[in-house]
Protein backbone atom coordinates (compact mmCIF):
# COMPACT_ATOMS: atom_id res chain seq x y z
CA UNK A 1 0.00 0.00 0.00
CA UNK A 2 1.38 3.40 -0.95
CA UNK A 3 1.46 5.76 2.01
CA UNK A 4 2.46 9.42 2.30
CA UNK A 5 5.43 8.35 4.47
CA UNK A 6 7.06 6.84 1.37
CA UNK A 7 6.95 10.29 -0.22
CA UNK A 8 8.81 11.69 2.80
CA UNK A 9 11.47 9.00 2.41
CA UNK A 10 11.81 9.89 -1.27
CA UNK A 11 12.26 13.54 -0.30
CA UNK A 12 14.83 12.51 2.32
CA UNK A 13 16.74 10.52 -0.31
CA UNK A 14 16.71 13.47 -2.71
CA UNK A 15 17.88 15.87 0.02
CA UNK A 16 20.72 13.53 1.02
CA UNK A 17 21.74 13.21 -2.64
CA UNK A 18 21.79 17.03 -2.88
CA UNK A 19 23.95 17.14 0.25
CA UNK A 20 26.32 14.56 -1.24
CA UNK A 21 26.78 16.51 -4.49
CA UNK A 22 27.48 19.65 -2.44
CA UNK A 23 30.08 17.78 -0.38
CA UNK A 24 31.81 16.65 -3.54
CA UNK A 25 31.90 20.22 -4.84
CA UNK A 26 33.23 21.56 -1.55
CA UNK A 27 30.15 23.52 -0.42
CA UNK A 28 30.42 22.44 3.22
CA UNK A 29 27.71 24.60 4.81
CA UNK A 30 25.20 23.92 2.09
CA UNK A 31 25.89 20.20 2.34
CA UNK A 32 25.35 20.33 6.12
CA UNK A 33 22.06 22.18 5.62
CA UNK A 34 20.59 19.60 3.23
CA UNK A 35 22.02 16.74 5.29
CA UNK A 36 20.25 17.94 8.46
CA UNK A 37 17.01 18.49 6.57
CA UNK A 38 17.28 15.06 4.95
CA UNK A 39 17.79 13.45 8.37
CA UNK A 40 14.74 15.29 9.73
CA UNK A 41 12.66 13.97 6.84
CA UNK A 42 13.96 10.43 7.11
CA UNK A 43 13.60 10.32 10.90
CA UNK A 44 10.32 12.22 11.12
CA UNK A 45 8.13 9.16 11.51
CA UNK A 46 10.37 7.82 14.28
CA UNK A 47 10.16 11.19 16.08
CA UNK A 48 6.36 11.23 15.90
CA UNK A 49 6.03 7.58 16.93
CA UNK A 50 8.34 8.03 19.94
CA UNK A 51 6.49 11.20 20.93
CA UNK A 52 3.23 9.28 20.88
CA UNK A 53 4.77 6.60 23.07
CA UNK A 54 5.67 9.30 25.61
CA UNK A 55 9.35 9.50 24.72
CA UNK A 56 10.26 13.13 24.01
CA UNK A 57 14.01 13.03 23.39
CA UNK A 58 13.89 12.34 19.61
CA UNK A 59 11.60 15.37 19.25
CA UNK A 60 14.01 17.43 21.36
CA UNK A 61 16.91 16.43 19.11
CA UNK A 62 14.77 17.35 16.10
CA UNK A 63 14.13 20.75 17.71
CA UNK A 64 17.87 21.21 18.16
CA UNK A 65 18.41 20.32 14.51
CA UNK A 66 15.83 22.93 13.48
CA UNK A 67 17.83 25.55 15.41
CA UNK A 68 21.02 24.34 13.70
CA UNK A 69 19.29 24.73 10.31
CA UNK A 70 18.41 28.30 11.27
CA UNK A 71 22.06 28.97 12.08
CA UNK A 72 23.18 27.52 8.73
CA UNK A 73 20.57 29.31 6.59
CA UNK A 74 22.33 32.73 6.40
CA UNK A 75 25.44 31.02 4.97
CA UNK A 76 23.41 29.84 1.98
CA UNK A 77 23.69 32.75 -0.41
CA UNK A 78 20.86 32.40 -2.92
CA UNK A 79 22.31 32.91 -6.37
CA UNK A 80 20.50 32.96 -9.65
CA UNK A 81 22.02 30.04 -11.51
CA UNK A 82 23.61 30.64 -14.90
CA UNK A 83 20.57 29.57 -16.80
CA UNK A 84 21.26 31.08 -20.19
CA UNK A 85 24.63 29.48 -20.86
CA UNK A 86 23.03 26.82 -23.06
CA UNK A 87 20.14 28.83 -24.50
CA UNK A 88 20.85 27.90 -28.12
CA UNK A 89 21.20 24.21 -27.27
CA UNK A 90 17.89 24.26 -25.40
CA UNK A 91 16.11 26.04 -28.25
CA UNK A 92 17.37 23.39 -30.70
CA UNK A 93 16.24 20.61 -28.39
CA UNK A 94 12.86 22.33 -28.03
CA UNK A 95 12.44 22.40 -31.82
CA UNK A 96 13.41 18.75 -32.11
CA UNK A 97 11.19 17.40 -29.33
CA UNK A 98 8.21 19.74 -29.79
CA UNK A 99 4.96 18.91 -28.05
CA UNK A 100 6.43 15.70 -26.65
CA UNK A 101 7.96 17.92 -23.95
CA UNK A 102 4.49 18.72 -22.63
CA UNK A 103 3.62 15.09 -21.97
CA UNK A 104 5.72 14.53 -18.81
CA UNK A 105 4.90 18.03 -17.54
CA UNK A 106 1.18 17.35 -17.89
CA UNK A 107 1.57 13.89 -16.34
CA UNK A 108 2.15 15.57 -12.96
CA UNK A 109 -1.34 17.13 -12.72
CA UNK A 110 -3.04 14.29 -14.64
CA UNK A 111 -1.70 11.39 -12.56
CA UNK A 112 -2.46 13.36 -9.39
CA UNK A 113 -5.98 13.96 -10.65
CA UNK A 114 -6.40 10.29 -11.50
CA UNK A 115 -5.32 9.16 -8.03
CA UNK A 116 -7.49 11.80 -6.37
CA UNK A 117 -10.56 10.69 -8.31
CA UNK A 118 -10.12 6.92 -8.51
CA UNK A 119 -7.48 6.10 -5.87
CA UNK A 120 -10.05 4.72 -3.43
CA UNK A 121 -11.19 2.10 -5.95
CA UNK A 122 -7.77 0.81 -6.96
CA UNK A 123 -6.74 -2.48 -5.45
CA UNK A 124 -4.41 -5.32 -6.34
CA UNK A 125 -5.45 -8.79 -5.16
CA UNK A 126 -7.76 -7.31 -2.56
CA UNK A 127 -5.17 -4.90 -1.14
CA UNK A 128 -5.85 -1.19 -1.63
CA UNK A 129 -3.07 0.49 -3.62
CA UNK A 130 -3.30 3.82 -1.79
CA UNK A 131 -3.71 4.49 1.91
CA UNK A 132 -6.78 6.67 2.46
CA UNK A 133 -4.90 9.34 4.48
CA UNK A 134 -3.47 12.14 2.29
CA UNK A 135 -4.30 10.26 -0.89
CA UNK A 136 -4.04 13.27 -3.22
CA UNK A 137 -0.57 14.11 -1.93
CA UNK A 138 0.52 10.48 -2.23
CA UNK A 139 -0.77 10.70 -5.78
CA UNK A 140 1.27 13.85 -6.37
CA UNK A 141 4.42 12.07 -5.17
CA UNK A 142 3.70 9.13 -7.47
CA UNK A 143 3.00 11.54 -10.33
CA UNK A 144 6.39 13.19 -9.79
CA UNK A 145 8.18 9.83 -10.08
CA UNK A 146 6.18 8.90 -13.20
CA UNK A 147 6.91 12.30 -14.75
CA UNK A 148 10.60 11.96 -13.93
CA UNK A 149 10.78 8.57 -15.72
CA UNK A 150 8.78 9.94 -18.66
CA UNK A 151 10.92 13.06 -18.89
CA UNK A 152 14.10 10.98 -19.04
CA UNK A 153 12.57 8.91 -21.84
CA UNK A 154 11.34 11.92 -23.84
CA UNK A 155 14.61 13.82 -23.48
CA UNK A 156 16.65 10.62 -23.99
CA UNK A 157 18.66 11.57 -20.94
CA UNK A 158 19.86 9.32 -18.11
CA UNK A 159 17.76 9.36 -14.93
CA UNK A 160 20.56 10.73 -12.77
CA UNK A 161 20.65 13.82 -14.94
CA UNK A 162 17.15 14.57 -13.66
CA UNK A 163 18.41 14.34 -10.10
CA UNK A 164 21.32 16.64 -10.93
CA UNK A 165 19.00 19.19 -12.58
CA UNK A 166 16.56 18.91 -9.68
CA UNK A 167 19.40 19.49 -7.26
CA UNK A 168 20.40 22.62 -9.20
CA UNK A 169 16.87 23.98 -8.83
CA UNK A 170 16.78 23.03 -5.14
CA UNK A 171 20.04 24.88 -4.49
CA UNK A 172 18.58 27.91 -6.26
CA UNK A 173 15.52 27.84 -3.98
CA UNK A 174 17.79 27.30 -0.98
CA UNK A 175 16.56 28.19 2.49
CA UNK A 176 13.22 29.48 1.19
CA UNK A 177 12.16 25.83 0.88
CA UNK A 178 12.34 25.56 4.65
CA UNK A 179 10.05 28.48 5.49
CA UNK A 180 6.65 26.79 5.14
CA UNK A 181 7.62 24.10 7.64
CA UNK A 182 9.17 26.57 10.04
CA UNK A 183 6.14 28.84 9.93
CA UNK A 184 3.85 25.90 10.59
CA UNK A 185 6.02 25.10 13.63
CA UNK A 186 5.93 28.76 14.68
CA UNK A 187 2.13 28.68 14.51
CA UNK A 188 2.13 25.73 16.92
CA UNK A 189 4.51 27.50 19.30
CA UNK A 190 2.38 30.68 19.15
CA UNK A 191 -0.71 28.66 19.98
CA UNK A 192 0.99 26.98 22.95
CA UNK A 193 2.38 30.30 24.23
CA UNK A 194 -1.05 31.94 24.25
CA UNK A 195 -0.35 34.47 21.49
CA UNK A 196 -3.82 33.81 20.09
CA UNK A 197 -5.68 34.49 23.31
CA UNK A 198 -3.61 37.65 23.89
CA UNK A 199 -4.50 39.00 20.42
CA UNK A 200 -8.18 38.15 20.98
CA UNK A 201 -8.10 39.98 24.31
CA UNK A 202 -6.63 43.05 22.59
CA UNK A 203 -9.27 42.89 19.83
CA UNK A 204 -12.01 42.69 22.46
CA UNK A 205 -10.57 45.70 24.25
CA UNK A 206 -10.71 47.65 20.97
CA UNK A 207 -14.31 46.65 20.38
CA UNK A 208 -16.89 49.46 20.40
CA UNK A 209 -20.14 48.82 22.29
CA UNK A 210 -23.57 48.51 20.78
CA UNK A 211 -22.90 48.63 17.04
CA UNK A 212 -23.40 45.42 15.07
CA UNK A 213 -21.64 46.94 12.06
CA UNK A 214 -18.54 47.97 14.03
CA UNK A 215 -18.47 44.56 15.69
CA UNK A 216 -18.60 42.82 12.30
CA UNK A 217 -15.86 45.09 10.98
CA UNK A 218 -13.57 44.34 13.94
CA UNK A 219 -14.28 40.62 13.44
CA UNK A 220 -13.44 40.76 9.70
CA UNK A 221 -10.33 42.92 10.12
CA UNK A 222 -9.29 40.78 13.06
CA UNK A 223 -9.46 37.70 10.83
CA UNK A 224 -7.23 39.45 8.28
CA UNK A 225 -4.75 40.77 10.83
CA UNK A 226 -4.55 37.52 12.75
CA UNK A 227 -4.06 35.57 9.53
CA UNK A 228 -1.28 37.95 8.50
CA UNK A 229 0.43 37.31 11.84
CA UNK A 230 -0.06 33.54 11.94
CA UNK A 231 0.17 32.96 8.18
CA UNK A 232 -2.91 30.78 8.25
CA UNK A 233 -6.63 31.53 8.41
CA UNK A 234 -7.27 28.19 10.14
CA UNK A 235 -5.33 29.40 13.19
CA UNK A 236 -7.18 32.73 13.21
CA UNK A 237 -10.68 31.33 12.88
CA UNK A 238 -11.24 29.58 16.24
CA UNK A 239 -9.68 32.48 18.13
CA UNK A 240 -11.73 35.23 16.48
CA UNK A 241 -14.90 33.15 16.61
CA UNK A 242 -14.52 32.34 20.30
CA UNK A 243 -13.61 35.95 21.10
CA UNK A 244 -16.07 37.96 19.00
CA UNK A 245 -17.98 35.88 16.46
CA UNK A 246 -19.91 33.50 18.68
CA UNK A 247 -20.58 35.49 21.89
CA UNK A 248 -21.33 38.84 20.24
CA UNK A 249 -22.23 38.49 16.57
CA UNK A 250 -24.18 35.20 16.72
CA UNK A 251 -25.60 35.22 20.25
CA UNK A 252 -26.15 38.95 20.81
CA UNK A 253 -26.78 40.39 17.32
CA UNK A 254 -28.31 37.28 15.76
CA UNK A 255 -25.88 36.78 12.89
CA UNK A 256 -26.44 33.76 10.64
CA UNK A 257 -23.71 31.31 11.74
CA UNK A 258 -23.22 29.64 8.34
CA UNK A 259 -22.69 32.96 6.55
CA UNK A 260 -20.53 34.38 9.34
CA UNK A 261 -18.33 31.28 9.43
CA UNK A 262 -17.91 30.92 5.71
CA UNK A 263 -17.36 34.56 4.81
CA UNK A 264 -15.34 35.25 7.95
CA UNK A 265 -12.96 32.48 6.93
CA UNK A 266 -12.70 33.99 3.44
CA UNK A 267 -11.77 37.37 4.97
CA UNK A 268 -8.90 35.47 6.56
CA UNK A 269 -7.93 34.05 3.16
CA UNK A 270 -7.48 37.64 1.92
CA UNK A 271 -4.94 38.01 4.73
CA UNK A 272 -3.14 34.89 3.47
CA UNK A 273 -2.54 36.65 0.14
CA UNK A 274 -0.82 39.51 1.98
CA UNK A 275 1.59 37.85 4.36
CA UNK A 276 5.13 36.50 4.03
CA UNK A 277 4.14 34.18 6.88
CA UNK A 278 2.17 32.12 4.33
CA UNK A 279 5.51 31.20 2.81
CA UNK A 280 4.34 28.19 0.81
CA UNK A 281 2.00 30.37 -1.25
CA UNK A 282 3.89 33.65 -1.32
CA UNK A 283 7.63 33.22 -0.78
CA UNK A 284 8.32 29.76 -2.22
CA UNK A 285 6.70 30.61 -5.59
CA UNK A 286 8.80 33.80 -5.70
CA UNK A 287 11.93 31.69 -5.18
CA UNK A 288 10.73 29.02 -7.59
CA UNK A 289 10.12 31.62 -10.32
CA UNK A 290 13.47 33.25 -9.52
CA UNK A 291 12.01 36.69 -8.85
CA UNK A 292 14.55 39.20 -7.62
CA UNK A 293 12.11 40.60 -5.07
CA UNK A 294 11.11 37.88 -2.57
CA UNK A 295 7.87 39.80 -1.92
CA UNK A 296 7.02 40.09 -5.64
CA UNK A 297 4.11 37.65 -5.47
CA UNK A 298 2.61 39.47 -2.48
CA UNK A 299 2.92 42.76 -4.35
CA UNK A 300 1.10 41.29 -7.35
CA UNK A 301 -1.66 40.04 -5.04
CA UNK A 302 -2.09 43.13 -2.89
CA UNK A 303 -4.90 44.94 -4.69
CA UNK A 304 -6.69 41.68 -5.50
CA UNK A 305 -6.72 40.86 -1.79
CA UNK A 306 -8.00 44.32 -0.84
CA UNK A 307 -10.77 44.25 -3.45
CA UNK A 308 -11.85 40.68 -2.58
CA UNK A 309 -11.90 41.60 1.11
CA UNK A 310 -14.11 44.64 0.49
CA UNK A 311 -16.47 42.62 -1.73
CA UNK A 312 -16.71 39.82 0.84
CA UNK A 313 -17.22 42.21 3.72
CA UNK A 314 -20.01 44.13 1.96
CA UNK A 315 -21.79 40.89 1.05
CA UNK A 316 -21.39 39.59 4.58
CA UNK A 317 -22.80 42.84 6.01
CA UNK A 318 -25.79 42.68 3.69
CA UNK A 319 -26.54 38.99 4.26
CA UNK A 320 -25.51 38.03 7.76
CA UNK A 321 -28.11 39.91 9.84
CA UNK A 322 -31.10 39.21 7.62
Amino acid sequence: MLRIEYAYWLIAAFLLYTAWLNVRQGHGYRAAFWLLLGLLFGGGDYVLAQQKAGNAWPAQIAGGMVIALAALAPTMRRHAHPEDSRAAERAASARKLGHKLFVPALLIPLVTLFVALFGTHLSIAGHAVFAPAQMTLTGLALACVVAWLAAARVARAPLHQGLAEGRRLLDAIGWAALLPLLLAALGEVFTHSGVGTAVAALANAALPEGSAFACLLVFALGMVLFTVIMGNAFAAFPVMMAGIGLPLLVKQYGANPAILGSMGMLCGYCGTLLTPMAADYNLVPAALLELRNPYGVIRAQFWSAVAIFIATFVMMWLLVFR
Partner: protein, 231 residues
Protein backbone atom coordinates in the same frame (compact mmCIF):
# COMPACT_ATOMS: atom_id res chain seq x y z
CA UNK B 1 -3.30 37.69 30.92
CA UNK B 2 0.36 37.30 29.88
CA UNK B 3 0.96 39.65 26.94
CA UNK B 4 4.73 39.06 26.78
CA UNK B 5 4.57 36.20 24.20
CA UNK B 6 3.33 38.83 21.72
CA UNK B 7 6.97 39.97 21.50
CA UNK B 8 7.46 36.93 19.24
CA UNK B 9 5.15 38.64 16.75
CA UNK B 10 7.25 41.79 17.09
CA UNK B 11 10.40 39.78 16.28
CA UNK B 12 8.73 38.58 13.08
CA UNK B 13 7.56 42.06 12.05
CA UNK B 14 10.94 43.69 12.70
CA UNK B 15 12.89 40.83 11.14
CA UNK B 16 10.83 40.82 7.93
CA UNK B 17 10.80 44.64 7.77
CA UNK B 18 14.61 44.82 8.02
CA UNK B 19 14.86 41.99 5.46
CA UNK B 20 16.98 39.73 7.63
CA UNK B 21 17.23 36.11 6.51
CA UNK B 22 13.75 34.82 7.31
CA UNK B 23 14.77 31.39 8.65
CA UNK B 24 16.61 32.54 11.82
CA UNK B 25 14.00 35.28 12.32
CA UNK B 26 11.20 32.71 12.47
CA UNK B 27 13.11 30.39 14.79
CA UNK B 28 14.02 33.31 17.07
CA UNK B 29 10.38 34.38 17.19
CA UNK B 30 9.35 30.87 18.23
CA UNK B 31 12.01 30.74 20.95
CA UNK B 32 11.12 34.25 22.24
CA UNK B 33 7.38 33.49 22.41
CA UNK B 34 7.89 30.12 24.01
CA UNK B 35 10.38 31.33 26.64
CA UNK B 36 8.24 34.36 27.53
CA UNK B 37 5.28 32.02 28.00
CA UNK B 38 7.48 30.14 30.54
CA UNK B 39 7.55 26.92 28.51
CA UNK B 40 10.43 24.78 29.85
CA UNK B 41 13.32 24.59 27.36
CA UNK B 42 13.11 20.80 26.76
CA UNK B 43 9.36 21.08 26.09
CA UNK B 44 9.93 24.01 23.76
CA UNK B 45 12.57 22.07 21.80
CA UNK B 46 10.29 19.03 21.57
CA UNK B 47 7.38 21.21 20.45
CA UNK B 48 9.54 22.82 17.76
CA UNK B 49 10.85 19.49 16.50
CA UNK B 50 7.50 17.74 16.57
CA UNK B 51 5.61 20.49 14.76
CA UNK B 52 8.39 20.79 12.17
CA UNK B 53 8.30 17.12 11.21
CA UNK B 54 4.48 17.12 11.30
CA UNK B 55 4.53 19.75 8.54
CA UNK B 56 6.72 17.69 6.18
CA UNK B 57 4.03 17.54 3.50
CA UNK B 58 4.78 21.21 2.77
CA UNK B 59 8.07 20.21 1.12
CA UNK B 60 6.40 17.76 -1.24
CA UNK B 61 6.93 20.15 -4.15
CA UNK B 62 10.65 19.30 -4.27
CA UNK B 63 9.70 15.92 -5.78
CA UNK B 64 8.60 17.78 -8.92
CA UNK B 65 12.09 19.23 -9.38
CA UNK B 66 13.87 16.26 -11.06
CA UNK B 67 11.17 15.99 -13.74
CA UNK B 68 10.86 19.75 -14.22
CA UNK B 69 14.65 20.21 -14.22
CA UNK B 70 15.11 17.53 -16.85
CA UNK B 71 12.37 18.96 -19.06
CA UNK B 72 13.68 22.50 -18.77
CA UNK B 73 17.12 21.20 -19.66
CA UNK B 74 15.55 19.72 -22.79
CA UNK B 75 13.87 23.03 -23.68
CA UNK B 76 10.37 22.84 -22.14
CA UNK B 77 10.18 26.57 -21.46
CA UNK B 78 11.53 27.47 -24.88
CA UNK B 79 8.96 25.20 -26.50
CA UNK B 80 6.08 26.62 -24.43
CA UNK B 81 7.17 30.08 -25.53
CA UNK B 82 7.50 29.19 -29.21
CA UNK B 83 4.12 27.47 -29.17
CA UNK B 84 2.44 30.47 -27.50
CA UNK B 85 3.98 32.69 -30.16
CA UNK B 86 2.25 30.67 -32.86
CA UNK B 87 -1.21 30.68 -31.26
CA UNK B 88 -2.71 33.87 -32.65
CA UNK B 89 -6.00 34.04 -30.75
CA UNK B 90 -4.56 33.25 -27.33
CA UNK B 91 -3.79 36.60 -25.69
CA UNK B 92 -2.16 37.06 -22.30
CA UNK B 93 -5.48 37.89 -20.65
CA UNK B 94 -7.27 34.89 -22.20
CA UNK B 95 -4.45 32.56 -21.12
CA UNK B 96 -4.38 33.77 -17.51
CA UNK B 97 -8.16 34.09 -17.09
CA UNK B 98 -8.62 30.63 -18.61
CA UNK B 99 -6.08 29.22 -16.17
CA UNK B 100 -7.80 31.03 -13.29
CA UNK B 101 -11.12 29.46 -14.28
CA UNK B 102 -9.70 25.93 -14.49
CA UNK B 103 -7.77 26.30 -11.24
CA UNK B 104 -10.78 27.61 -9.33
CA UNK B 105 -13.14 24.93 -10.63
CA UNK B 106 -10.60 22.19 -9.80
CA UNK B 107 -10.23 23.62 -6.29
CA UNK B 108 -14.02 23.66 -5.93
CA UNK B 109 -13.93 19.93 -6.65
CA UNK B 110 -11.32 19.49 -3.92
CA UNK B 111 -8.43 19.00 -6.35
CA UNK B 112 -6.02 21.58 -4.96
CA UNK B 113 -2.86 19.48 -5.28
CA UNK B 114 -3.28 19.09 -9.03
CA UNK B 115 -1.80 22.48 -9.95
CA UNK B 116 0.51 24.89 -8.17
CA UNK B 117 3.64 26.98 -8.39
CA UNK B 118 5.92 23.95 -8.88
CA UNK B 119 3.53 21.69 -10.79
CA UNK B 120 2.13 24.11 -13.37
CA UNK B 121 3.21 27.74 -12.95
CA UNK B 122 6.98 27.43 -13.33
CA UNK B 123 7.08 24.88 -16.16
CA UNK B 124 4.04 26.01 -18.15
CA UNK B 125 2.06 29.08 -17.14
CA UNK B 126 4.97 31.48 -16.51
CA UNK B 127 6.85 30.88 -19.80
CA UNK B 128 3.60 30.93 -21.76
CA UNK B 129 2.62 34.22 -20.10
CA UNK B 130 6.00 35.70 -21.00
CA UNK B 131 5.59 34.63 -24.61
CA UNK B 132 2.04 36.02 -24.72
CA UNK B 133 3.26 39.32 -23.30
CA UNK B 134 6.08 39.44 -25.86
CA UNK B 135 3.46 39.29 -28.60
CA UNK B 136 2.10 42.58 -27.23
CA UNK B 137 5.33 44.27 -26.24
CA UNK B 138 8.47 42.70 -27.74
CA UNK B 139 10.82 44.77 -25.57
CA UNK B 140 10.05 43.29 -22.15
CA UNK B 141 12.52 44.32 -19.44
CA UNK B 142 13.70 42.01 -16.66
CA UNK B 143 11.38 43.87 -14.27
CA UNK B 144 8.47 43.18 -16.62
CA UNK B 145 9.32 39.48 -16.65
CA UNK B 146 9.47 39.41 -12.85
CA UNK B 147 6.10 41.13 -12.64
CA UNK B 148 4.55 38.78 -15.20
CA UNK B 149 5.73 35.70 -13.33
CA UNK B 150 4.42 37.20 -10.09
CA UNK B 151 1.02 37.84 -11.73
CA UNK B 152 0.95 34.21 -12.91
CA UNK B 153 1.72 32.98 -9.38
CA UNK B 154 -0.88 35.37 -7.91
CA UNK B 155 -3.51 34.09 -10.34
CA UNK B 156 -2.74 30.53 -9.26
CA UNK B 157 -3.11 31.48 -5.57
CA UNK B 158 -6.37 33.40 -6.02
CA UNK B 159 -7.94 30.58 -8.01
CA UNK B 160 -6.94 28.02 -5.43
CA UNK B 161 -7.88 29.91 -2.27
CA UNK B 162 -11.32 31.09 -3.26
CA UNK B 163 -12.27 27.86 -4.97
CA UNK B 164 -11.33 25.47 -2.18
CA UNK B 165 -13.81 26.87 0.34
CA UNK B 166 -16.71 25.82 -1.87
CA UNK B 167 -15.69 22.17 -1.60
CA UNK B 168 -17.53 20.51 1.27
CA UNK B 169 -15.00 17.92 2.34
CA UNK B 170 -11.97 20.18 2.60
CA UNK B 171 -10.31 21.64 5.69
CA UNK B 172 -11.99 25.03 5.86
CA UNK B 173 -15.61 23.89 5.77
CA UNK B 174 -15.00 21.05 8.18
CA UNK B 175 -13.15 23.36 10.55
CA UNK B 176 -16.09 25.80 10.58
CA UNK B 177 -18.60 23.00 11.09
CA UNK B 178 -16.49 21.44 13.83
CA UNK B 179 -16.17 24.74 15.67
CA UNK B 180 -19.92 25.32 15.68
CA UNK B 181 -20.63 21.70 16.63
CA UNK B 182 -18.38 22.08 19.67
CA UNK B 183 -20.46 25.07 20.71
CA UNK B 184 -23.83 23.42 20.19
CA UNK B 185 -24.79 24.78 16.77
CA UNK B 186 -25.36 22.08 14.15
CA UNK B 187 -24.83 23.05 10.51
CA UNK B 188 -24.53 20.87 7.42
CA UNK B 189 -21.27 21.27 5.47
CA UNK B 190 -23.29 22.14 2.39
CA UNK B 191 -24.91 25.18 4.01
CA UNK B 192 -21.44 26.52 4.91
CA UNK B 193 -19.86 25.74 1.54
CA UNK B 194 -22.72 27.42 -0.33
CA UNK B 195 -21.97 30.80 1.26
CA UNK B 196 -18.42 30.66 -0.07
CA UNK B 197 -19.83 30.82 -3.60
CA UNK B 198 -20.44 34.63 -3.74
CA UNK B 199 -16.82 35.32 -2.80
CA UNK B 200 -15.59 32.69 -5.26
CA UNK B 201 -17.41 34.54 -8.04
CA UNK B 202 -16.24 37.96 -6.80
CA UNK B 203 -12.62 36.75 -6.63
CA UNK B 204 -12.83 35.42 -10.18
CA UNK B 205 -14.24 38.70 -11.50
CA UNK B 206 -11.75 40.87 -9.58
CA UNK B 207 -8.67 38.89 -10.61
CA UNK B 208 -9.89 38.74 -14.23
CA UNK B 209 -10.37 42.52 -14.32
CA UNK B 210 -6.89 43.03 -12.89
CA UNK B 211 -5.37 40.70 -15.50
CA UNK B 212 -7.22 42.56 -18.22
CA UNK B 213 -6.02 45.94 -16.88
CA UNK B 214 -2.47 44.60 -16.79
CA UNK B 215 -2.71 43.55 -20.43
CA UNK B 216 -4.10 46.97 -21.35
CA UNK B 217 -1.16 48.65 -19.64
CA UNK B 218 1.21 46.59 -21.78
CA UNK B 219 -0.78 47.49 -24.91
CA UNK B 220 -0.63 51.20 -24.07
CA UNK B 221 3.12 51.00 -23.65
CA UNK B 222 3.43 49.17 -26.96
CA UNK B 223 1.29 51.84 -28.65
CA UNK B 224 3.44 54.63 -27.19
CA UNK B 225 6.54 52.84 -28.42
CA UNK B 226 5.10 52.56 -31.95
CA UNK B 227 4.10 56.25 -31.98
CA UNK B 228 7.58 57.18 -30.81
CA UNK B 229 9.10 55.22 -33.69
CA UNK B 230 6.62 56.57 -36.26
CA UNK B 231 7.26 60.23 -35.48
Amino acid sequence: MNYWPLLGVAVIVIGFALRFNAVPVVVCAALVSGLLAHLPVPDLLALLGRSFVSARMLLLFVLTLPAIGLLEHAGLREHAQQWMGRLRGLTLARLLIGYLMVREVLAMLGLTGVAGAAQTVRPLLAPMSEAAAEKILPTLTDDDRDELRAVAAATDNVGRFFGEDVFIALGAVLLIQGFYAQHGIDLTPLSIALWALPTAIAAFVIQSVRIWLYQRRLERRAALLRDGKAS
